[in-house]
Amino acid sequence: MADPIAPRRVPHLVPRPVQDYARLAWTWTRTAFQYPAGLALMTTGVVLSVVAEFGAVLVVFWRAGELAGFSMAEGMVVYGLAAAAFGTADLLMGNVERLGERIRSGELDTMLVRPVSPLVQMATDDFSPRRLGKILPALGILAAGLWWAAPEWTAGKALVFAVLMVSGVVICASVWLVGACLQFFVADAREAANSVTYGGQALTEYPLAVYGQGIVRAVTFTVPLAFVSWQPVLYVLDRPDPTGLPDALRFAGPAVAVLAAAVAALAWRTGLRHYRSTGS
């Protein structure tokens, strides 16, 4: 070999981390399908949890008729959008919450000596299509809610809505990653992080007006989760903001997403720099 030390250069259009992500996710998906019974059981579990959550939302609306001026159809849109964004972020990045385990078991060390971003490896490890069991029903609920609430659609509106949805996924994934990065610094931060993400999820599932202005303002500005579901819903339903925040905020989703992703990337880099492996 002429120059054995030189790295191999393979021309490619798709960025390397994306290729690696696809390769790893595909490998795990294939593995999951080798145990179809287990996969079916776990998927059923996920679907049931969505049904239970959505059931709770329905019961609340059914008893109250409407909440803070929001009809049941609109409530379905809020729930469906939140659940779909969380589900997708969970599918793509959910496994990073096991960072602490990976550090303790030394698996992170082995990931660091492979020529693949450890973030990609962590996110795809044990990647499972069972999480579609959350995304698909949530999208169904969203579609049904939109059909029932029947807002006026234009091509531009559909496009903006799609962008807001993608931003929502990015925001969820970023919040998730920041929470996971705490585990670089604190041994048992997983609980703390879960209160941010799962607690946050419960918050986004009801129209935010239910919680009162103070909380809503706090949530909109501190935890950017309001941009996952609440603000996009106000946009798509052409609603004035019942808490009196400026209407322009509903277009802030993409900017918040970029900002959240930047913070997450910084947290990850800082965490890796401070990584100290384990003693054995």
Binding site: M1, D3, P4, I5, A6, P7, R8, V10, D20, R23, L24, T27, T31, S105, G106, E107, D109, T110, L112, V113, R114, P115, V116, S117, D126, R273, Y275, R276, S277, S280
Partner: protein, 267 residues
């Protein structure tokens, strides 16, 4: 070829590298931080084609040194180049040039059959298919992986897993192989297989090998050069003969044990 690679005459060039850990001790109100130097200062140069063994008592800092060399840990002090790169800054690029095996853990995926694990490794290292087929056939034969290629990694015995790990670390034909306790927990036969494989790899392909071990058999069978690390510093660096010559009357184990004790007696 870049100038970076031209100047890379040594595979490993470490000058005064050290690593401190800050550990907190005691219960909450009285928690105090203390700096533990896992590695004080190590000078180590490994030239292409060498096999070097690192010996040293438990806690001497061997694994921490290997982690710095592979880019897992960033050194607190000193300057370090491995295969022409600064490991902690260029970790991913370095990973393509070196092979790493930690005897205590596995670089394979627990739930995948060995064959799939190796196939995945090939893709992640972007080894061209033809080259892979050739190397894969060669390595499976030399390390006798045939019988358990379709077994999930978690069901492999330690010796089988270690052979699988070595294969995974070598598929991309690295010029430097870093092994942390590659023979830990293996029986005599497995040890012999791995030792003769490593010797052959070094002899026929010129692969540079840096390993840590507690087994003097590894050293006697494989290495010309021994580095004894004690309490984070190099206590001996030289040929096996030089080590023997320190105390001609006694066997090699006694000499090494004496080195460890010498270290312990230092202030």
């Amino acid at each position: 070829m870049t100038t970076e690679e031209h100047t890379a005459r040594a595979m490993v060039e470490a000058v005064g590298i050290g690593r401190d850990f800050t550990v907190a001790e005691g219960r909450f109100p009285r928690r105090v931080k203390r700096v533990v130097p896992a590695v004080r200062s190590i000078d180590l140069t490994v030239r292409p084609g060498e096999i070097v063994a690192c010996l040293g008592p438990n806690g001497a800092g061997k694994s921490s040194t290997m982690k710095m060399l592979t880019g897992i840990l960033s050194p607190t002090r000193g300057s370090l180049r491995v295969a022409g790169l600064e490991p902690s800054r260029r970790r991913t690029t370095l990973a393509r040039r070196i092979g790493v095996v930690f005897g205590q853990r596995t670089g394979l995926w627990w739930d995948l059959p060995l064959r799939d694990s190796l196939e995945l490794t090939r893709h992640l290292y972007r080894v061209p298919a033809a080259e892979h087929a050739h190397r894969y056939a060669e390595l499976t034969e030399l390390l006798e992986l045939g019988p358990f290629l379709s077994t999930p990694v978690r069901q492999l015995s330690l010796g089988q897993r270690m052979r699988g790990d070595l294969t995974a670390a070598l598929l991309h034909n690295p010029r430097l192989l870093v092994l942390d306790e590659p023979t830990i927990g293996l029986d005599v036969v497995s040890k012999a297989t791995i030792r003769s494989f490593l010797a052959r790899l070094n002899r026929e392909e010129g692969t540079t090998i840096l390993l840590t071990t507690h087994d003097l058999g590894d050293v006697e069978r494989l290495c010309e050069r021994v580095v004894v690390i004690d309490r984070g510093s190099v206590a001996f660096d030289g040929g096996l003969d030089g080590l023997r010559a320190r105390d001609p009357g006694s066997d090699i184990e006694t000499v090494v044990a004496g080195l460890y004790r010498d270290g312990a007696a230092r202030p």
